[in-house]
């Protein structure tokens, strides 16, 4: 049987992560995720790194808009069909139920909730993010297909808000993922949230909501910031 073919990029990262693991004093890799050698059915010994094997190893790609006229039409469609990921990351998520219920009814405006990041294109960061959640947020954000938008609610995402001095929550969201629209408030009322969706629609229609490409462009910078605070990076770098 031929040698198992590993993507050269993955191979490179695998080696680097092994190196990192050796160098850093405290690692947070769970025992079951550690790099280990297993015997393949044919008797050959292969090295597996579960963290990397779960996912493919590609950086996010910058995806340029197409032809201007087509893009304009598509942007209109995108703006009228905003699918929001149902991930309540902070207090602001308490204002989501009123939005999907009779009083405010955001379905009227083409805004719907989706349960999985793969099908969503808008991410509401509803307030503060603890580092533990941030890790999941980044993961979810990276799983969302481009073009994707981030709406940040409340003071906490702008400059730390009420938890500016907390050891557990981040201060500025834009250091970790690009943000399209900020809505002031602690927390913003549903009406303000709808106004935020209105603003997002405008941006999309104007073709200005291209933050997903910005993330791809400045990927290393964002990653460096993320790594600075997420010590337990128990998931791969590039999980595209």
């Amino acid at each position: 049987m031929s040698e198992l073919n590993i993507n050269s990029k993955v191979q490179e990262m695998l080696e680097r992560s092994e190196q990192n693991a050796k160098n850093s004093e405290k690692t947070f890799v769970r025992p079951e995720d550690e790099v280990r050698e297993v015997v393949a059915p044919d008797g050959s010994i292969i090295k597996i790194n579960p963290l990397y094997d779960y996912f493919s190893g590609e950086r996010p790609k910058e995806e340029k808009p197409k032809n201007a006229i087509v893009e304009k039409f598509l942007n209109w469609a995108r703006s009228e069909s905003i699918w929001v990921l149902g991930f309540g990351t902070g207090c602001g998520s308490i204002e989501i139920p009123p939005l999907v219920t009779p009083r405010y009814d955001m379905f009227r405006f083409g805004v719907q909730m989706r349960p999985t990041p793969r099908q969503s294109n808008a991410f509401i960061i509803s307030g503060y993010l603890s580092v533990k959640t941030l890790k999941r947020v980044i993961r979810s954000y990276e799983q969302m297909p481009s073009p994707k938008y981030v709406i940040a609610l409340g003071s906490c995402t702008i400059n730390g808000g009420m938890y500016y001095d907390s050891y557990s929550t981040i201060n500025r969201l834009d250091k970790y993922i690009p943000v399209d629209v900020y809505i002031a408030g602690c927390m913003p009322r549903p009406e303000a949230l709808l106004a935020g969706f209105g603003k997002l629609k405008e941006l999309i229609k104007e073709g200005k909501a291209e933050k997903a490409n910005e993330y791809a462009r400045n990927f290393d910078e964002y990653k460096a910031n993320q790594k600075k605070i997420i010590k337990d990076w128990n998931m791969p770098d590039y999980n595209w």
Binding site: A77, R78, P102, P145
Partner: protein, 302 residues
């Protein structure tokens, strides 16, 4: 009829069915919203969602089967359409229905689900896997009583052709199988609840347990294809039941009314009932509709 004209008609029919499916679904979403006291999505929303999904830039795949999942489902839906007589007595809208199409239709009903099983499995998402295993389990439970009912009808009308079953029901609503063979109809219509995938039998896609189940990993164009085939399937299921139980349709207007009402029947039940757990729903299908199916077969076997 010329085969090219036939193909053109089929293609047109597919478009009509697709758009009718979207319109019907969005209408029911709006009815549901009304019940809750809100307006709900605009009528154009499904079309915009479809364009949006096609406009999604990132498409990533987990492998060949991941690609083929939606394709299988789409072919299942199209296959269902191809061999289903849509309007009775209009040659142009009989599609490719033939003697024995009933068997093929039953097969195509399962075809999409199997495709999804393969695709979702390759997606690697455990929720999809759970969803699809539930889906297959439930589908099996649905198919059994439904097949029983259909066999009873086949025995009653002594044919395996849908067109002939429809033809036998013409001449006033009292000739419908619904009235001529209420037990088999009941078996079919009760299991139809499961086929439509509304509550209480929507565990497959339960968004608040296993985030929408099999299609969890599907996005962009894949999702667009899934949505399209879902809409076609929805209409085709209603047309199947219409043809089997409610005497088919002779014109588009009749088809629209009947399919709407048949679909409404699923929504009517689904809106006010929570969903069954998978083993509960399987048990339910095995208890009531299966029993009715047996009785129906027994009634016509002797």
């Amino acid at each position: 009829m010329n085969i090219y004209v036939k193909i053109a008609y089929t293609f047109l029919g597919l478009m009509i069915v697709l758009n009718w499916g979207m319109l019907m679904r969005v209408t029911f979403r709006k009815i549901g919203a009304r019940m809750a006291g809100r307006h709900g999505v605009p009528f154009r929303q499904p079309w915009i969602d479809l364009i949006k999904n096609i406009a999604v830039r990132t498409t990533l795949t987990h492998g060949v089967m991941f690609y083929l999942g939606p394709v299988f489902r789409f072919s299942g839906a199209v296959g269902l359409f191809l061999f289903m007589p849509i309007l009775f007595g209009k040659e142009a809208w009989m599609n490719f229905s033939f003697e024995g199409d009933l068997v093929l239709i039953l097969y195509f009903q399962l075809f999409g689900m199997l495709g999804m099983a393969l695709g979702a499995g390759e997606g690697g998402q455990p929720h999809s896997a759970i969803g699809i295993s539930r889906g297959l389990a439930q589908h099996a439970a649905v198919e059994l009583p439904m097949t029983m009912g259909i066999i009873a009808l086949a025995i009653q009308y002594q044919t395996l052709s849908i067109s002939e079953i429809v033809a036998a029901q013409q001449g006033g609503f009292l000739h419908w199988s619904f009235f001529t063979n209420p037990v088999a109809s009941a078996a079919i219509m009760l299991s139809a609840l499961g086929a439509f995938g509304y509550s209480p039998f929507n565990l497959v896609k339960a968004p608040n347990e296993i985030p929408i189940g099999p299609p969890t990993e599907y996005h962009g164009t894949y999702l667009g294809v899934l949505m399209t085939s879902g809409n076609i399937l929805g209409v085709m299921e209603t047309i199947l039941f219409m043809n089997l139980v409610f005497g088919g349709a002779t014109n588009w207007f009749e088809l629209i009314i009947k399919s709407f009402l048949i679909y409404f029947y699923a929504v009517f039940v689904g809106m006010v009932f929570p969903r069954f757990r998978i083993e509960q729903s399987v048990a339910w299908f095995f208890k009531i509709p299966l029993l009715l199916g047996f009785i129906a077969i027994l009634m016509y076997s002797f």
